[in-house]
């Protein structure tokens, strides 16, 4: 197994600021927008984006939730390994709100497909957008594209994109891992 560094801490920081900036451009004061981080790994990215929005753009009362899509996945009983659920924490309704899904890597699009169904349990959003740090293009199984993308990566199927976060893994970095 070998790994190659795709993004270092400095590059990630620049990208996070750009993504936050693009969000502000579209959503202004976020009065009708909610952020939803995808469990388990999109949580860290969502936390970081929220921090930048609050500290550098003085956005107040920003609603952030975390959505677990385990029970909405289309591969229940199909994989080798059992599915492991994480906690869903959404203490607001998304009825008529603009929802921004936040995930670290967009790969096949199946998770986002499940999330589009799952979020309806909390109301009918007026629109849904997708923000991802890494967009693995050419590997999509479904017609799903990000609205805000950090970096596009061309990876083949036996390669994995590994995103590490300071809060959880002790460093900010993105690696391309070959099995």
């Amino acid at each position: 197994m070998s790994q190659k560094l795709l993004l270092n801490a400095k590059e990630i920081n620049i990208i996070l600021h750009r993504l936050a900036c693009q969000l502000v451009e579209k959503h202004l004061d976020f009065s009708n927008t909610v952020l939803v981080g995808m469990q388990p790994r999109g949580k860290y990215l969502a936390d970081r984006i929220k921090k930048i929005l609050e500290e550098e753009y003085q956005i107040q009362n920003l609603a952030l939730g975390f959505l677990d899509i385990t029970f909405f996945r289309d591969d229940f009983r199909r994989g080798e390994k059992p599915l492991e659920a994480s906690e869903t924490q959404i203490d607001f309704l998304v009825e008529d709100k603009k929802v921004v899904f936040i995930d670290d890597v967009l790969y096949t699009g199946r998770s986002i497909n499940a999330a589009l169904t799952a979020i309806q349990s909390f109301g009918r959003p007026s629109e849904v957008e997708l923000l991802t740090l890494i967009d693995r293009r050419f590997s999509r199984h479904l017609p799903i594209q990000p609205d805000y993308r950090g970096r596009q990566v061309d990876a083949i199927n036996n390669e994995k994109v590994l995103v590490k976060w300071q809060d959880n893994d002790g460093e900010d970095a993105v690696y391309l891992v070959t099995k």
Binding site: T70, F71, F72, R77, A85, T88, A118, S121
Partner: protein, 309 residues
């Protein structure tokens, strides 16, 4: 991720502490799901479940049905009173006929101890025991422990007294196994005629005096007097039973601590529990019912995940 060590839920005796922990972690997620505006997930959309009740039930049957529907399973239910069992069909034949309609899981209540175990060895489906005679009622014990864990933080180290008709109670036996497995201490309290002779061999002590039992415990699980199973007189009268083993507000207020009152239902108000106790802050009877759906969703989900295509 972990998975259950069993393919059927026949009794608490057949599962491990790790299984119980996994069921509770999963039930935590489902408890969040059933409190959403839309309380449903699509996980089990390709699973069909038959609920076969050879004995009367309201709560358990509704709770199982709701759990299955919240998971998007297809559900068929029948009660023996309306079935061909009355015409002389055997249990295995009845169930195999249902299974030939492509059913993946069977939830069964039966008056004979061991019926669920027998079925699990004779038919090709995942079996969940919803009560077999005076043997086990595993999902009730799981939801009781889940409620204690929610109320007191942990089951381990807690003192639980089970009061009432222990002799005929499957809830008591499953609870004893589940509580001890999680490190709780269990006593039973009731008329001597309704306490099984072998009970101490399970590591359970007997406290004949209700007041002393309540003073000792953190949680009291009050069982119903199962009149339908009492073939002879086990105590002189209901009135006398209530005087000795009925929990009243006065009795609870006279204790030097606040204990949690549980009851698996259906309650006989004014017999084993007075109305003001059943409706008090100390009672978690309705929480038990809510948790029952989440725990049953977890059990069904985890068993279904082991059914391979």
């Amino acid at each position: 991720m972990k998975e259950l060590s069993v393919n059927h839920l026949i009794g608490i005796k057949h599962i491990t502490k790790q299984d119980i922990d996994l069921i509770f972690e999963t039930a935590d997620h489902f408890k969040e799901v059933i409190n959403r505006p839309i309380k449903k997930v699509p996980s089990l959309r390709d699973i069909t479940i038959a609920n076969i009740f050879f004995e009367n039930s309201t709560r358990t049957k509704l709770s199982f049905e709701l759990a299955q529907k919240r998971l998007s399973a297809d559900v068929i239910s029948f009660s023996a009173a309306q079935s061909s069992v009355k015409k002389g069909e055997t249990l295995v034949d009845t169930v195999n006929n249902i299974l030939s309609m492509k059913v993946d899981m069977v939830v069964m209540r039966h008056s004979s101890p061991g019926a669920a175990h027998f079925l699990s060895e004779n038919v090709k489906a995942s079996i969940v025991n919803a009560g077999d005679g005076a043997h086990e009622h595993p999902t009730q014990a799981l939801l009781d422990s889940f409620t204690i864990r929610e109320k007191l933080g942990d089951v381990g180290g807690k003192k639980i007294v089970i009061v009432g008709d222990i002799l005929h109670s499957r809830v008591a036996l499953s609870n004893i196994f589940a509580l001890q497995m999680q490190g709780a201490e269990v006593k039973v309290c009731g008329p001597k005629t309704l306490i099984p002779k072998y009970i101490e061999s399970l590591g359970v002590s007997v406290e004949p005096n209700l007041r002393k039992a309540l003073e000792w415990c953190d949680v009291a699980n009050m069982l119903r007097v199962q009149n339908e199973r009492l073939d002879v007189n086990y105590f002189p009268s209901t009135r006398e039973y209530t005087q000795q083993y009925g929990v009243t507000k006065e009795l609870l207020d006279s204790l030097n601590k606040e204990i949690v009152i549980m009851h698996p239902g259906p309650i006989n108000r004014g017999v084993e529990i007075s109305s003001d106790v059943a409706d008090s802050q100390q009672s978690v009877i309705l929480e038990q019912v809510e948790n029952g759906v989440a725990v049953r969703m977890a059990v069904i989900y985890l068993l279904a995940s082991k059914i391979k295509n």
